[in-house]
């Protein structure tokens, strides 16, 4: 034991204690040497000419982050989907704003097409529409494939459950009688898709887009299926808080006035995505 203590005393010299940090530095000769090499250079030349700084090679620069595009995947599940059944099933879904209610049925009502009934008089000859308009509260009716959508006169009444059950009873009774839900002359007189597309595009170019251009907006026709129109709202219209109002008051009226055979009009715009939505 004594010899070990003696050896340690000899190693650390007469002072007996050595700064451990100094020992650590000594254990890293490369670093210590490089410091020693640099120091004399500055001493011999106190005002060295700064070496020209060359930019790092391009491959060493961090890549600029790429702006990714947000895409939408198709939605597979839908809580409003109805199961297959021999019975007539009707499922009601009021809109979040409460201004309208969609009714989905497990029966085709108007396959491949849609039709808008603006009032009681327009329902004449269409059994489904006639029975729905017997309810005084109903303002408008839109029938599309296996669903129909109702708006009411009273825009402040957001309670739909009681009224929707009454609608469900009368609609079920009508469908159980069999026969077409809407009058057959609607389909017979309907112009072709191309004609509707041409007419709608004309309204967009001459009336709608010049109107929304003042707000930096732009409406694009994205598709026609039968007489159903799909549009996208771009520019200042995308994400705008007034987009729904523009669609329901301005665009719907303009389309229906110029092209009376237009059925449903859907806005396909994702108002929450994009690079610069008005509200996101």
């Amino acid at each position: 034991m004594a010899s070990i203590l003696d050896k340690l005393k000899n190693m650390f010299g007469p002072g007996g204690e050595t700064d451990p940090s100094a020992q650590t530095v000594a254990d890293k000769p490369v670093v210590a040497d490089s410091r020693q090499e640099i120091a004399p250079t500055f001493e011999s030349n106190p005002e060295p000419t700064p070496a020209p700084v060359s930019p790092p090679p391009m491959e060493e620069l961090a890549p600029t982050p790429m702006m990714r595009t947000v895409i939408q995947a198709p939605l597979v599940s839908d809580a409003a989907e109805l199961p297959e059944s021999d019975e007539i099933l009707i499922r009601a879904q009021p809109s979040p704003t409460g201004d309208q209610c969609v009714f989905r049925i497990n029966r085709p009502l108007f396959p491949g097409h849609s039709w808008f009934f603006k009032d009681f008089e327009s329902a004449e000859g269409s059994p489904l529409a006639e029975v729905i308009f017997t309810h005084d509260e109903v303002e408008t009716l839109l029938v599309h494939e296996q669903s129909f959508t109702i708006t009411r006169y009273d825009k402040n009444n957001f309670e739909w459950e009681k009224f929707a059950k009454e609608i469900g009873i009368t609609v079920r009774e009508t469908l159980q009688e069999g026969g077409p839900a809407l009058k057959e002359s609607i389909i017979r007189d309907m112009p072709g898709e191309e004609q509707i597309r041409t007419d709608i595009q004309k309204v967009i170019d001459l009336e709608v887009n010049p109107g929304v251009a003042g707000h930096g907006g732009q409406i694009t026709l994205t598709g026609i299926q039968g007489n159903t129109v799909n549009i996208q709202m771009g520019g200042g219209c995308q994400g705008c808080s007034s987009a729904d109002l523009t669609l329901k008051i301005g665009i719907h009226n303009a389309f229906r006035k110029a092209v009376p055979f237009v059925g449903a009009i859907y806005d396909e715009t994702d108002h929450a995505s994009g690079l610069n939505p008005y509200f996101s």
Binding site: M66, T69, V70, L75, S77, R91, E161, K165
Partner: protein, 114 residues
């Protein structure tokens, strides 16, 4: 938009998978998933989740930095404060370094049979 407590994804990969860590983007912050199970390689199923406890203004699944990732099916279980937990299932989508897919859906609007 309600407060997002936590969410979980279950991703079925199609023909083209990825070896990269699977990340999501919340309010423009890229974050790797936690509680991982499985993998995102071709034909495999990946599961991951995250305790958010904050308000999500945007929620996306980020594509790989290199190559493509073919997703056959994507299920998202969302748990929001004050809302019944709900699930959303998306169909096929292919991601790469240029894109990210939106995995947020508002809580379903209540329906009732009449």
């Amino acid at each position: 938009m309600p407060k997002l407590t936590r969410f979980k994804v279950t991703i079925d990969t199609g023909d083209v998978g990825t070896d990269e860590p699977v990340c999501f983007n919340i309010n423009s912050h890229k974050v790797p998933f936690e509680d991982l199970k499985g993998s995102a390689q071709a034909g495999q199923t990946f599961e991951g989740g995250f305790e958010v406890n904050s308000f999500a203004h945007s929620l996306t699944l980020v594509g790989p930095e290199t190559g493509q990732w073919n997703i056959k099916k994507l299920k998202v279980d969302l748990d929001l404060e004050g809302v019944e937990p709900y699930s959303v299932t998306f169909g096929e989508v292919t991601l790469d370094e240029t894109n990210e897919v939106n995995i947020w859906r508002d809580p379903p609007v209540p329906t009732f049979d009449v």
